[in-house]
């Protein structure tokens, strides 16, 4: 058995419709852990069943019987501050609902592995902004987990893919059409690093939209056949029933050319046959949008010196629809590869977590041995390069680790793999341009590699100005100057100025964005060294007392 000298870090794919958890076994291979129902993926559905909270297949099936007690697709509401699910007088935020899903995954994994699940890497769409990422991290914390890292889903998929492919260098386009979100990402894989070149997508476009088109069609057909004019979706039971039927029909149409569907409402029942051709007609525009995003991303990639790609890989359950492959083959003249669509993301996260753990351990060993402080994995590579740490020491530490942990030496040495990401959003500050119009000046542009630190000088507008209001804005353009309407304010900060400061005094603003997309901002009035530090902890995410309460409540609730 594994001697377990290192802490295990699990990888979790927290999906809109399905979630899964994975770990790396003693052979260095990522393995999905089946849940207590012996399924490899768990529906991301939460059912508030009186005392208990049920997550997964049972919850999903319960939606028909108890539509008001079941929450699905919660990921779409992550980072939405005003979404509240109310049940039995209690109010739940999306973070807490997601926490129940995470708790179920961790619980089942613990049961299976017979060890506590504490440290995890959770994935989120590349397209998630600061709010949504922070919300995902909070969900993990509410579930009592130590969230070691939030990584992008396409990156995770690429890591899983890269771990299998042995070729040296490769540019891969990851087309990730999940249950609720769509991401398209260009990734450069080499032995040393997985590097995100460019990313794009829409976090309101996913398999569910395909389902919804079927639902709307069914409603229309039902009205046509029965002459009923009311909207049958106003009945929550019917809504849930149709939602499930639509999902089943969609899946079935990936295999067959037509599928029968029955609709029951108010004592009336009709049966109809949905043909693949009709389905494709109903969803043509959705598919077009994914192609369009892909083209846009390719343009951006070209501008960054990546005019072509070697592989086109499909991730996410919705890519099983034959129309996706057909359309991509036609539009890009390439045969895309379907790569482990349901599991790649969780596995990639697990591999990433495993490398983190190995790294931690290697660094611990090396600093013990050499008595040198190594802050981060990157510094370690640098130190080896500069021969501050000898290759021999490194190899020795790696061997000791391999020996004690039971992992093979090459896999331990490979743990030095680096993941380099880009930001999917631009970040800027509200300022006035020379024409005295209010604009946003973007310091960090989207698709810039992270971590990044950018400093820029601004100037006070008036003599004896008392304060500077710094409005930190997130947007999705690649332009430096944009109108204020085109961005969202994620945080405000005030810098107090000393009195009698002349007009045009310089204020230096620095944006620092880390690998996970966390933003740290410093503003400084340079002449008097007046300074403020702002960590963007985002107002729209659960925090304070509400956060603590959710944590207590989640610990209290039994999750089945």
């Amino acid at each position: 058995m594994n001697k377990k000298s290192i802490k295990r870090i699990f990888g979790i794919d927290l999906g809109t419709t399905y979630s899964s958890i994975s770990y790396v076994d003693e052979f260095g291979k990522a393995v999905i852990i089946a849940n207590s129902e012996n399924e490899r993926v768990t529906p991301s559905v939460v059912f508030f069943d009186e005392e208990n909270i049920v997550v997964g297949e049972v919850a999903k099936e319960s939606a028909k019987l108890y539509p008001d007690e079941v929450v699905s697709f919660i990921k779409r509401s992550m980072g939405e501050p005003n979404f509240i699910f109310e049940f039995a007088g209690q109010r739940y935020r999306p973070e807490e609902i997601s926490a129940y899903i995470l708790k179920k995954l961790a619980q089942d994994a613990r049961e299976f592995m017979n060890e506590e699940v504490t440290d995890v890497v959770i994935t989120c769409p590349a397209y998630f902004g600061i709010n949504e990422r922070e919300a995902t991290r909070k969900a993990g914390e509410i579930a009592g987990l130590n969230v070691r890292h939030i990584i992008n889903e396409p990156t995770a998929a690429a890591i899983a893919y890269g771990s299998l492919e042995t070729t040296d260098k490769k540019t891969v386009l990851v087309y990730d059409l999940g249950g609720g979100t769509f991401d398209v990402t260009m990734i450069y894989i080499s032995k040393e690093a997985v590097e995100v070149v460019c990313t794009g997508g829409d976090h309101n476009l996913g398999g569910k939209d395909w389902d919804d088109r079927i639902v709307a069609y069914l409603v229309e057909k039902f009205q046509e056949e029965t002459g009923i004019t009311e909207d049958i979706l106003d009945d929550p039971d019917t809504w849930q029933d149709l939602q499930l039927s639509a999902e089943k029909a969609k899946k079935s149409l990936s295999q067959r050319n037509k599928t029968p569907i029955a609709i029951t409402h108010g004592g009336q029942r009709i049966k109809l046959m949905l043909e693949r051709e009709k389905f494709e007609e109903l969803t043509e525009d959705l598919l077009y949008r994914t192609i369009d995003f892909t083209r846009e991303m390719l343009e951006a990639a070209e501008a960054k010196g990546f005019p072509s790609f070697d592989e086109f890989i499909l991730v996410g359950g919705a890519t099983r629809m034959p129309q996706v492959i057909e359309k991509i083959s036609k539009e890009f003249n390439i045969t895309p590869k379907i790569f482990d669509p349901d599991e790649a993301v969780a596995k990639g996260a697990a591999i990433y977590g495993w490398k983190l753990a190995l790294n931690d351990d290697l660094i611990r060993r090396l600093s013990e041995k050499t008595q040198k402080v190594i802050e981060r994995p990157e510094t370690l590579t640098e130190m080896i390069d500069k021969q501050e740490i000898s290759a021999e020491d490194f190899r020795e530490a790696a061997m000791a680790l391999a020996d004690e942990s039971g992992y093979t030496l090459p896999s331990v040495e490979n743990a030095m793999l680096q993941v380099r990401n880009v930001t999917s959003k631009s970040f800027g500050v509200v300022a006035h341009n020379p024409n005295n119009e209010e604009i946003i000046f973007n310091l960090v542009l989207r698709n810039t590699p992270v971590p990044v630190r950018i400093k820029k000088k601004f100037f006070t507008a008036a003599h004896n100005q008392q304060t500077v209001l710094i409005r930190i804005m997130e947007s999705e353009t690649s332009k430096v100057e944009i109108p204020v309407d085109n961005a969202v304010e994620i945080k405000k900060a005030v810098l107090n100025l000393p009195s009698d400061l002349p007009e045009d005094s310089p204020i230096a603003i620095e944006y620092e964005l880390n690998e996970e997309g966390r933003l740290h901002i410093t503003a400084e009035e340079t002449t008097n060294a007046q300074k403020i530090d702002v960590v963007v902890d985002t107002a729209s995410v659960i925090s304070g007392e509400e956060f603590e309460q959710a944590k207590i409540r989640t610990q209290k609730h039994m999750v089945l």
Binding site: F85, A216, V219, E220, D292, E474, E476, D485
Partner: protein, 784 residues
């Protein structure tokens, strides 16, 4: 752009305006959770998302007394506006219903229902309309007078119609339809899917636009290419928007639609038609009002056609639209009254005469050719008539139509052929209906309602014409009501006589079978009254099923009850349900394991591993006990198999012991040198445990009964060493040690026994040792 009024959105009182902060806040939280629930609704989700994002703004406005006051005032205004809109609609509906010349009490009740207002309000409107009508007639007269004179006919017409003038509305609601005139579409244009139309409408509502053209800010006559470009531009514009709120999401969806819809003329025309139709939604609501008892009176029909024409449709388009609409609603349109038809036919006759006169010269020139054509046609008709098969007849006629369609010379004959087809098909339809009808009647005589119904259902599958469909459905309904009556009577008997489970089954069967049954409410009441009684039954049945570990049955019982009742018992059962499900899953797991184990056949070791592997993976599984039992059972089998193997092996070896040992009977070996009888197998192979302490060993020999003997005992140390130490020795398969009967007492901290034992190994020398009696050893029993 106008946003929703918060008072109306929150459903707060406007008159007087609600000002209590607590009431307002609770309305906001209530709506917040309601919208959150709707957040992922397939068609209304975006709207909900939009409302959710408005919450901070709603709080801001509603918590500020000044802003709130303004909001309340605006709510009043918009209410007034709503009311005027509504009155216009009611008036229109009154106009339509008056199309037949009067308005009945029934009509008034119905209108009151449709518009959710009191009947007297409708009556008020009718009175006002009557007054208005006189004013309008005056207006009309003056209009006619404007040209200098007015004919009596004109006055008569006005007087005759004395309701309302279509011309009036014409000027009010004129709205040009898409009739460019230049491109006549020869085939029926492609239809846009209705659910897509609806989705586009919903999304347009969110961005506050009227059409995709409006969305792109382009005119409806814009060229395709420009539309495409605008759509892509629009998408880019949306992509640069910072927020990803409902409006942007709707915008993205619409831009996607624009690209797919404006990709070619065909799809664009489909959309244009759909757009025109959506403008006709108003017309639809008028048709809805006219439909009554599944029928549209002819008077209404004509009014509707006129109205549709006012929207810019041609007459035949209007007729088709209304007919299609009614078909979807399964409504029939009453045919026009006989007198009118006669009148029209006279008029038509005159027209034909005129046409004949004006084309006489042409007719003359073509006379000969025409004769030939006619003869050819007559021949065809003769052949058609000779056939008895309607399908053949129709196909021959169709062939004729196909080959001569569009040829001027054949026009009349093609029309004639069409007519003949119609007649034949309608006769066929009539015959089919009559046949079905008589079959159904004969089943009804036998009171076999189900077969009768299935006959009708089969008939309906054949897509018969509308009037027969209606009749067939009527018949179906009659049968239902007969069957319902019979079943209800039977039910009444069951409810008195049968046991509770049977009663419940009968009642639920009834409800399922007759969702609109006459006695439905009575049956439901009966069912409700049985809630307690049935629960006691379910409880007992559950107890029994639980004892039998029949979890599926448990689940079915509990679920059955929960589906029927919503009471405290049902709540209790809901709690149990999770447990049953868990048990079912475990039972399935266990069965799967059993099945997998069975696959191993007689390889009990492999079968055992199936269970132990599972236990290793799930050490706390609820089926641990059962798995343990299986493992014990398999262990026994494994040992038994092992014993059998050893027995054969030992027997072989004994045969080659040079005659000293002879197997005398089943499992008994005689030492010919001493005359002692030994068991072939030792306790390791035959007992439940592979080894045992000394006291158990003694008991084991005492109870042993094998080879037909029961007087077995523990051997003495001398006896044991004799068979193992003197050659030819007793065969040894593996290393182990045997208890002898010789024991001594010893003391070390407490009293204990020491026993002489002998250790043997294959090919090795047997050795004597003394051991603590509590150690675990093997026994080979002996008898004299």
């Amino acid at each position: 752009m106008e946003r929703e009024n918060f008072y109306i959105l929150l459903e707060l009182s406007i008159d007087p305006p609600e000002t209590d902060p607590e009431t307002i806040e609770s309305a906001i939280t209530r709506k917040q959770s309601e919208w959150s629930r709707m957040r992922n609704h397939p068609t209304k989700g975006l709207q909900a998302q939009k409302y959710i994002s408005m919450i901070p703004e709603i709080r801001r406005v509603m918590n500020d007394p000044d802003l709130r006051e303004k909001e309340a005032a605006a709510a009043k205004d918009s209410n007034v506006k709503d009311k005027t809109d509504k009155i216009a609609e009611i008036d229109r509906h009154i106009d339509i219903l008056m199309g037949k010349g009067y308005i009945s009490k029934e009509d008034i009740v119905r209108l009151a229902q449709v518009h959710e207002i009191a009947e007297n309000e409708i009556q008020d409107r009718i009175r006002i309309k009557k007054d208005e009508k006189y004013t309008r007639i005056d207006q009309q007269l003056s209009l006619r007078m404007a040209k200098g004179y007015i004919t009596e006919e004109e006055i008569n017409k006005l007087a005759k119609r004395h309701n309302f003038k279509p011309e009036d509305i014409k000027s009010r609601v004129y709205n040009p339809m898409l009739k460019n005139g230049k491109t006549k579409t020869p085939s029926a244009p492609r239809q846009m899917d209705r659910s897509l139309e609806k989705s586009i409408r919903e999304n347009l509502k969110i961005v506050d636009k009227k059409s995709l053209y409006d969305f792109l800010s382009l005119h409806e006559s814009t060229e395709l290419e420009a539309l495409q470009e605008a759509a892509i531009e629009k998408k880019k514009q949306l992509a640069s928007a910072g927020k990803k709120d409902a409006r942007v999401t709707a915008g993205n969806t619409l831009a996607g639609y624009c690209v797919t819809i404006f990709k070619n003329e065909e799809t664009r025309i489909a959309y244009d038609i759909s757009l025109a139709k959506s403008r006709l939604a108003e017309l639809d609501s008028d048709i809805d009002v006219s439909g009554f008892n599944g029928k549209i009176r002819n008077e209404y029909y004509e009014v509707l056609v006129r109205k549709a024409m006012d929207f810019g449709m041609e007459k035949h388009e209007a007729e088709r639209y209304i007919k299609d609409y009614c078909k979807r609603k399964k409504w029939t349109i009453e045919p026009p009254k006989g007198t009118k038809r006669k009148l029209m036919m006279v008029a038509a006759g005159v027209c034909v005469l005129l046409a004949v006169l004006s084309t006489a010269g042409f007719l003359y020139v073509n006379h000969r050719e025409e004769q030939a054509i006619n003869r050819q046609y007559e021949g065809l008709i003769a052949r058609v008539d000779a056939s008895n098969n309607v399908d053949e007849q129709v196909s021959a006629l169709r062939q004729f139509i196909q080959s001569h369609q569009g040829d001027k010379k054949y026009e009349a004959l093609v029309d004639d052929a069409r007519r003949r087809i119609d007649i034949r098909l309608s006769k066929k339809d009539e015959k089919q209906y009559a046949e079905m009808s008589s079959r159904v009647d004969s089943w009804l005589r036998d009171e076999d309602f189900d077969t009768a119904k299935s006959q009708i259902a089969d008939y309906l599958e054949t897509n018969p014409p509308a009037q027969y469909v209606a009749n067939a459905r009527k018949k179906m309904a009659e049968i239902d009501s007969m069957a319902e009556k019979r079943d209800f009577e039977a039910l009444s008997r069951i409810v008195i006589e049968a046991d509770i489970a049977e009663k419940i089954r009968a009642l639920t069967d009834y409800i399922e079978k007759y969702p609109d049954g006459k006695n439905l409410s009575q049956v439901k009441d009966m069912l409700n009254d049985m809630g307690n009684e049935y629960y006691i039954y379910v409880e007992n049945a559950l107890e029994k099923a639980e004892a039998d570990k029949n979890w599926e049955e448990c689940e079915a019982l509990a679920r059955g009850y929960i589906e029927l009742y919503d009471n405290s018992h049902a709540d209790t059962l809901k709690g149990e349900l999770a447990r049953y499900r868990q048990n079912i899953r475990q039972e399935q797991v266990f069965q799967a394991l059993q099945q997998k184990a069975t696959h191993a056949g007689e390889d009990y070791v492999r079968a055992r591993r199936v269970y132990t592997d599972y236990l290793k993976a799930y050490p706390n599984t609820p089926i641990k006990k059962r798995i343990d039992e299986e493992v014990v059972r398999l262990d026994r089998l494994i040992r038994k198999a092992e014993a059998e193997r050893m027995k054969n092996q030992l027997a072989d070896m004994i045969r080659s012991s040079g005659g000293r040992f002879i197997e005398t009977g089943e499992g008994v070996v005689k030492d010919t040198e001493t005359g002692l009888m030994w068991t072939l197998l030792d306790s390791a192979a035959t007992a439940d445990k592979p080894c045992m302490p000394f006291d158990d060993a003694a008991a084991y020999t005492e109870d042993l009964s094998t080879g037909g003997y029961s007087d077995w005992r523990l051997p003495t140390a001398t006896e044991l060493s004799n068979i193992y130490k003197t050659d030819p020795a007793f065969p040894v398969l593996e290393e182990k040690w045997y208890w002898s009967a010789d024991s001594y007492s010893g003391y070390s901290e407490e009293w204990y026994k020491i026993v002489d034992t002998i250790t043997v190994s294959p090919g090795g020398k047997a050795m004597e040792t003394r051991r603590d009696s509590r150690e675990c050893g093997v026994v080979r029993a002996v008898k004299d």
